[in-house]
């Protein structure tokens, strides 16, 4: 067991929220076509409120603090918050940003304060594709300049790429660019529904056949046969936790709302009205999420993929049942292995076909000769 796993196990056993994502703002200077956020400011927490929250998070045992948004650098007090988090409260801080406002001065300041990593959203190595997704002309050039400034300060930079129909053909070029710049690169084919429940952005997903091809790219997945195989059901698979949301991690919005995860919009409390630790420990909803084991899931327990599925309980919740399947993850398991999930088979059984074909009657004259009902 690695040291990180040991620490996680310990935190889990003691109900300690080891990591928290705090979105400082939903305002943004890009308008990404797949974004799930409402960018209007509905009353963000003040600097004092955020510092107070950081005090509470540190007291609760939070070690990893991911600052995200929206665009974090749009907050005028961003560096004040970051300095407080790092130098007063000793959090391990990770940043998520598009970095288009980061120049030499900001990069030097980040180096001075010290952050674990800076994750930058980059969707393609080609400006016409990246800028088409962000809807901001020149955004790729500015984000890449920022990555160079940050790298020159010796900071760890990670490119985060969401795969969509618009950019899926570019991921290899993106990875080559990342390698050239000496930065890490992650790929994620998951599109998150809008916070208001609108699922229209899901149409940007890359679809089964393309995903199948991506999962067979040796450069990405390593040993393809091994990656695409269905692992045997482990001894403890059914008693396992669905994911860390609500167990060792959670999410706080710019308005102080606390959720199990940024992708799990089940409101469990608000830090403007309650103490963070009270929400973490005593919220009924948080405890309900916490009580769920894989064996409690509907449909999934009988699925071939139950031991290896990346099922997201938040996406399942957005589909209507936090104990149910997450269709996007069913699609991933299917694209990876070629074996449909229990959820997909169940849907197929109940879904009426649009075109039903029946055998031709023996006497065409009697039936009118139609083959389609």
């Amino acid at each position: 067991m690695s040291l990180l796993q040991e620490v996680n196990e310990k935190a889990l056993a003691r109900n300690i929220p080891l990591s928290v994502q705090l979105d400082l703002t939903y305002r943004c200077n890009e308008r990404c076509v797949h974004c799930y956020l409402d960018h209007d400011d509905h009353g963000e927490m003040t600097t004092a409120e955020i510092k107070h929250l950081l005090d509470e998070l540190a007291d609760a045992g939070v070690f990893v603090l991911s600052l995200s948004g929206g665009e974090i650098f749009l907050r005028k007090d961003f560096f004040e918050i970051l300095e407080y988090a790092r130098l007063q409260k000793q959090f391990c801080v990770k940043l998520k940003t598009n970095a288009i406002v980061v120049r030499e001065r900001e990069a030097a300041r980040l180096r001075e304060i010290g952050v674990e990593s800076i994750q930058i959203s980059i969707y393609s190595h080609r400006a016409e594709v990246h800028d088409g997704i962000t809807v901001v002309p020149g955004s790729l050039r500015r984000s890449l300049d920022a990555a160079r400034f940050l790298k020159s300060q010796g900071l760890r930079v990670i490119f985060a790429n969401v795969l969509m129909v618009q950019n899926v053909q570019d991921y290899q070029g993106m990875r080559a660019l990342a390698e050239e710049l000496g930065v890490e690169c992650t790929l994620d084919p998951t599109i998150t529904p809008m916070m208001d429940g609108n699922r229209s952005v899901l149409s940007l997903g890359i679809g089964h056949e393309t995903l199948r091809q991506v999962f067979r790219d040796q450069a990405l997945v390593g040993e393809v046969d091994e990656f695409c195989a269905i692992p045997a059901l482990g001894e403890n698979s059914l008693s396992a936790l669905p994911c860390s949301a609500g167990h060792t991690s959670c999410y706080v919005s710019p308005y102080g709302d606390v959720f199990p995860c940024v992708q799990f919009p089940l409101l469990t409390g608000n830090v403007r009205k309650q103490k963070f630790l009270d929400i973490w420990r005593h919220s009924e909803k948080m405890n309900e999420v916490r009580s769920i084991r894989v064996k409690d899931l509907t449909t999934c327990t009988s699925c071939t993929h139950v031991g290896s599925c990346t099922r997201c309980p938040g996406l399942a919740y957005m589909e209507g049942n936090m104990r149910g399947p997450s269709s996007q993850d069913c699609e991933k398991s299917f694209a990876r292995t070629g074996v449909p999930s229990a959820n997909m088979l169940a849907k197929k059984r109940v879904a009426p076909s649009l075109v039903q074909i029946r055998a031709l009657p023996t006497s065409p004259i009697e039936s009118g000769g139609g083959a389609l009902a």
């Binding site: 045992g61 790092r86 000793q90 674990e116 990593s117």
Partner: protein, 99 residues
């Protein structure tokens, strides 16, 4: 000896987990090392910390405890988790900075 402000640190069930600001390596300190870390205020010398905190709390022989502590401190300083200096370290006068 002082805690390096660039390191990330949190107590987990009485033991410190610390991430090096230099290379993000994660460490966990046992209870003795945690006491040492928490006592590293930039002003108290190591031998005093060992005598007053470590020996008093953990019932160890002073000479042996000091030798172990010196080894640990050098190791942690190598990972930029602790700062060591012959003179007191204060936030406005970090290690290596001439005034």
């Amino acid at each position: 000896m002082a805690r390096n402000p660039r390191a990330a640190a949190r107590s987990l069930d009485g033991e410190m987990m610390i991430m090096s600001g230099r290379d993000s390596t994660l460490f966990t300190l046992n209870k003795t090392a945690t006491t040492l870390w928490q006592s590293a205020d930039g002003a108290t010398p190591l031998d005093e910390i060992v005598e007053k905190k470590i020996c008093a709390e953990f019932e160890v022989e002073p000479t042996e405890a000091l030798a172990d502590a010196e080894t640990l401190v050098r190791e942690l300083a190598g990972h930029e988790i602790l700062q060591i200096s012959e003179t007191p370290i204060t936030p406005d006068k970090p290690v290596g900075e001439k005034r």
